[in-house]
Symmetry: C3
């Protein structure tokens, strides 16, 4: 019996199948410190226990994206080991902050299957849930990936394409228990701009850039126990380059967005995202944002802002797609998310 994991191929998935992912992970102060070493993260709620308490939380949670990365990393051996491409995200929601000492595990349900017309690959849709040690779902999201068939003669499954919300409504968003911005300290947070100061359509150039190193993206990706070969093994791709985990770019861009969005404290919804072009070491990541929408939430004082976060490898800000409707070559990430701000 072969002992190593060959990953699942397209024909190994079935609608309704639930995959409990392996290797639960306890996160703690070490993961928090590493997140701050790997990304220029400065959102005060994740930097200071005191600030978090001032916002009604028991202490500073793990960065929302770190929670996402840990959950995502668990799914890789079961979902994307034989993936050709990571096609999209939808209906991502953060349901409960993750605190030091929490243990996360993950489970995915196959909710869509569609064989491609070439007969060699297919698209798999999974809804993934991350749970803590109490069994509470801390986050969930839908992801779809293109996966190779191992046996091209395997019959095509019935096509099921799930209906997914293009955008989460504000009612879909879960505000963490106790969150209270009534005593929010804008000086300590770093910027005076509140929810009311942002306008739909407003664009923000986050100015700063960070040049990417191999050691850093590999440490980050390993920290999330993401094992995809292509991120670690320079002999894997013919060009000798290690493809950088898309989540590294997300975290880098989000951290850079502090400069202009310091009060967009908590990420609560992920509407969608595209890894438009690959990222490699040596490139310099810059970021810009656009306010796509705003909404009041059920909690007084807590506003929701829907943001487009774009990571580029240089070039002028605010350029996204060419006349052909395709992403410009310098665009690496186009992310659509909801964050919470003091009103």
């Amino acid at each position: 019996m072969a002992k190593t994991n060959p990953g699942r191929f397209f024909e190994d998935y079935a609608i309704g199948q639930v995959i409990d992912h392996a290797v639960p992970r306890t996160v703690g102060q070490g993961e928090r410190a590493l997140y701050h070493a790997l990304y220029p993260a400065r959102h005060a709620l994740y930097s200071s226990d005191e600030f978090a308490r001032g916002c009604g939380l028991p202490q500073s949670p793990l960065d929302d994206l770190a929670a996402f990365h840990v959950v995502f990393g668990k799914t890789v051996p079961d979902v994307s080991l034989n993936a050709v491409a990571n096609l999209g995200y939808a209906e991502g929601r953060w349901l409960k902050p993750v605190y030091p000492g929490d243990t996360l595990r993950a489970s995915s349900e196959v909710i869509g299957l569609k064989q491609n017309s070439n007969g060699k690959t297919g698209v798999v849709y999974v809804r993934t849930r991350g749970m803590n040690q109490a069994g509470e779902t801390v986050m969930e999201y839908v992801r779809w990936v293109m996966v190779r068939k191992n046996d091209v003669d395997a019959p095509a499954p019935e096509t099921v394409v799930p209906e997914l919300k293009r955008v989460l409504s504000v009612d879909d968003l879960v505000i963490p228990d106790g969150l209270d911005f009534s005593n929010y300290d804008f000086t300590l947070a770093g910027e005076p701009h509140r929810w009311g100061d942002y306008e739909v359509g407003e664009q923000i150039d986050h100015v700063d850039g960070v040049t990417i190193e191999e050691a850093e993206h590999m440490m980050a990706t390993r920290l999330w126990q993401n094992t995809a070969k292509v991120h670690f093994d320079a002999t894997f791709r013919p060009d000798g380059q290690r493809l950088i985990y898309g989540g590294h770019v997300i975290s880098m861009a989000r951290a850079l967005s502090f400069n202009g969005l310091a009060n967009a404290q908590m990420i609560v919804g992920l509407n969608g995202g595209a890894h438009a072009n690959p990222c490699f070491s040596g490139l310099t990541v810059k970021a810009w944002s656009e306010v796509l929408d705003k909404a009041e939430t059920s909690v007084p004082g807590v506003g929701a802002v829907r943001l487009r976060l774009v990571a580029t490898r240089g070039g002028a800000p605010f350029r996204l797609k060419g006349d052909d409707g395709k992403y410009l070559p310098e665009v690496m990430l186009d992310l659509d998310y909801w964050a919470l701000m003091p009103v």
Copy 2:
């Protein structure tokens, strides 16, 4: 309204102005571990809770320089974003050890201003204080930087150059509550040399060298939430090099100084310091020290030693300045500090 931080320019400062810096930070076991991963730090009091307890402290504090870096990092967006040069330090004092779980914030008072004769820049002197969650000052220091004017036609402020102590006297130094070297374990500390074994004028070559990597200095500098572009963005300088945060060189040299100064356990005073020449990745840092002074403290068994710590990028030790009085090109750091040793 522009949302991003343009930084302050010379004309934005006024004598007596107090700037509360943003983004408080809770430090913990993760920061301690990262400090040991980034620097060859081996001073036993910072490595072992047991050793620290044997010296009368409740547990191992965060490295004194890590506390400095966190406080310094907080000031960057307000003090040195438009700085042309970091000119000097004075009157630095560590007033209280920082322990895992402490939350640090920082505040600076403008204590000096002097426009340069070119009318385009000026020197700003600030006294910065780092506070913990109880509001206690854990450290303070004066720093002066050369800052660009945004509006060269802005009127020059009245020149105020603060009188600063060239050297702190031993009476200025604060010995941590409870510090007691009467049961000091020289074997576990790593060297037998006590305060009485060092002579003023003695020079020590710390022998070991460390070659600097981009990933490491960026992780360190980010860990302190220091956001100066020049450390991270390879496209920022025309030569494509990232300038390494001067504090990275300080910590590297201090850690190297263990070899010969293993018992210079705690840093309590910073008399001054010059970043004589820049540091870039690929260089190999070496260090040497000179005993500048010695003094007994108010606590029996605890001696103070004033040390010059020099970091070089190679070359023979003990060479500092040329016949022209300028630092030799291989000298990167000339630091003057007080440390505590068992008598």
Copy 3:
């Protein structure tokens, strides 16, 4: 009096001499997180406090190899600063798991000495013990190194070559108190293969590869406070390369071995090991294992498996030595250890 540590030379050792190593170290959540960032470590017992509790332990211990590295690192200034070569390991045993908050120190006894016929070097055998803050031995091992003489005219000591077990028997292994695999969760552990599924002689290619970066091996080696110049100073070797700490290769290979040996949870014995060829940055580490032996232990449900773990820098798996009996050039590590698995 020279203040820096010149290290010990061959003539400085005597049979029966006990060396208490310096710089005790408290390990915690930070070290655990860094271990996961530096190595693709996924064994569930070290990743999840919940999983560890399910196996009868109070929480997730520090990785067994991290404990080894900390203990090993302590010995470097006293044992291998003037070593020409690290010749071998034997009788390594993990006696007690190390938990966050534990403080480790180390002590070595000289148990063998043999001057080489060239009169310039000799072999020193030491038995090293790592102790926690309660004075309990957490691990021990024998290591022998070739050390230079400082004074080639110093008389040769009487030759003493200790009798060392070529392989530990299962009765030599210590099963951690309370370890209980009766509720072992194979799904969360990541593989269904239990002790009974492995056969003596079976070989496993661990498939994945990791390309090595300077920043990572230096961070790892510093984290263990291993100060050997050759790992850090690019100017030390004539070829400008930093020799990678052999323990970095051990940890990398062990982590890679998850893929096929996910249930070989705890390392309890080290029978021997050879650093067959050096490792440098830029190489891609791959690993394969061979089952050398199996044994039942005194604890029902806990089986012991003796494994050969081989790290290579590429090439086909399962090739170890050439016709000349020498290690092939692509082999970097040949390690022989005992691990515990659910029966």
